[in-house]
Subunit: 267 residues, 2 copies
């Protein structure tokens, strides 16, 4: 049995401990007056992001020192290792700094490049989605399951912001949002949790980094959904950053067709 | 002392009871499989909206039978009364039906047409902002206070969706969102609570109904902020549905100038 078939339980335990530690940091700083720095890519970062990532790295160093790490705030180490942790200590820092509890702690574990574990944790609402190869996804320990919805014009579609779609991506987004039944913005990673639990049918985003999306795929897959890049390719560290998650495989196929059809042949 | 100077305490108590009752209904139906009907204006409505409004109306009938009511789901009665309650049992029904706890119960009390009390209640997070004439606004009983921020290019700006700006409003929105420091979507009425608590500097919306905005003004004002329509006029039942709320009066003035400057002379 490989990790892609069954994620080792001790690594699931480690991931829970990491989410616990990062959540403690996030709760301590949420809605307190902390400085907001601007990173070279103009995205904001705070002491909460840095301390939460440090807390997770400390646990990896203690319990799985040979594993690689790819973290948003503190860089990459040993990414050629058999196991690599991909960490976003606070996904949705913009929501975090405005006091809105839709941000999340994202923890992914890759085995030979394939995401085999994902956690989406909202530490203020204390909601944690877990997806791990070989077991059904859960929300706070109870089964999380997608809902069926095949028709795009009935779909609830989420994206964090229309501003995340640049260049040709904007035209593709415009095409699909006009076909969707209901379009909502502003949920950050929380939208993927809602999809895994059967309240949302489709999440389409772009301009993402590996630490933004790697944790989401195992949660969606283990809940019965499908998540790939816009070309239908499985997600990994080298993916292009455009993702589509659907609760229903037929919806996923329709979304891919709509996204691809809207893009120029050179795209 | 008039109600515009001091909202009578027994009416504040009644408003709390109404929010409690509506919250009980909302929690009972949140994330359960309920039917979603479509209203003539194509907005969604559920049994939770209707039961929550009915619960509030029952309390008004029992404790203030002479008061008028203007409710989203069950219509208007006695709107020429000295006191009129303006009710949105679930503001953000689209968020509600997708399992996202950013919706809110909105309760306003108008005295001779002027909003003298407002409640923004998020029943899942159990957060309640209260604004009442003659007293400081509160979040769960503790003082809520806006923050100072005069410069538009430093402002955190929220709107529920860019799709709410139609026609000339869209051009005005585009102008101001380009000037803002950080733009976020998707918070519904919760954004105004965040502004009252000093985490957001500006909320600009359009296409609103009286039950969407009347409850917000007393919360913002009592927290030290300013909220009017896009022309700087105080809000009431006959307002045009375009609102601007700011934590800092200088920000409010800048926003009005930016919004007005962007609109055609005929607008």
């Amino acid at each position: 049995v490989t990790a892609a078939e069954n994620c080792p339980p001790e690594l699931v335990d480690l991931a829970h401990s990491m989410a616990d530690a990062a959540g403690t940091v996030a709760r301590r700083y949420f809605r307190t007056p902390i400085a907001v720095d601007t990173k070279p890519d103009s995205s904001p970062v705070t002491i909460a992001d840095r301390e939460a990532e440090a807390a997770m790295r400390t646990l990896i160093a203690a319990r799985a020192p040979a594993h690689g790490i790819y973290g948003e705030e503190m860089g990459a180490a040993r990414t050629d290792a058999e196991y690599v942790w991909v960490l976003d200590p606070i996904d949705g820092t913009k929501a975090f700094i405005t006091g809105k509890p839709s941000f999340g702690i994202l923890i992914a574990l890759l085995h030979r490049g394939i995401p085999v574990l994902g956690i989406i944790d909202q530490p203020i609402l204390r909601e944690r989605w877990l997806g791990a190869a070989g077991r059904p996804s859960t929300l706070n320990g109870a089964p999380a399951r997608v809902r069926a919805c095949a028709a795009l014009d009935k779909a609830v579609l989420y994206a964090t912001s229309p501003d995340m779609f640049k260049g040709a991506d904007a035209a593709a987004w415009e095409t699909i949002r006009r076909k969707a039944g209901l379009v909502r913005y502003g949920a950050d990673c929380y939208a993927y949790g809602l999809l895994a639990s059967g309240f949302v049918d489709l999440v389409i985003e772009a301009s993402l980094q590996p630490y933004d999306y790697c944790a989401l795929a195992p949660v969606i897959t283990g809940a019965g959904g499908v998540m790939t890049d816009w070309h239908g390719t499985a997600l990994g560290l080298a993916s292009p950053g455009q993702v589509v998650a659907a609760g229903d495989a037929r919806m996923h196929a329709s979304a891919l067709a709509a996204l691809t059809g809207a893009r120029p042949a050179s795209g």
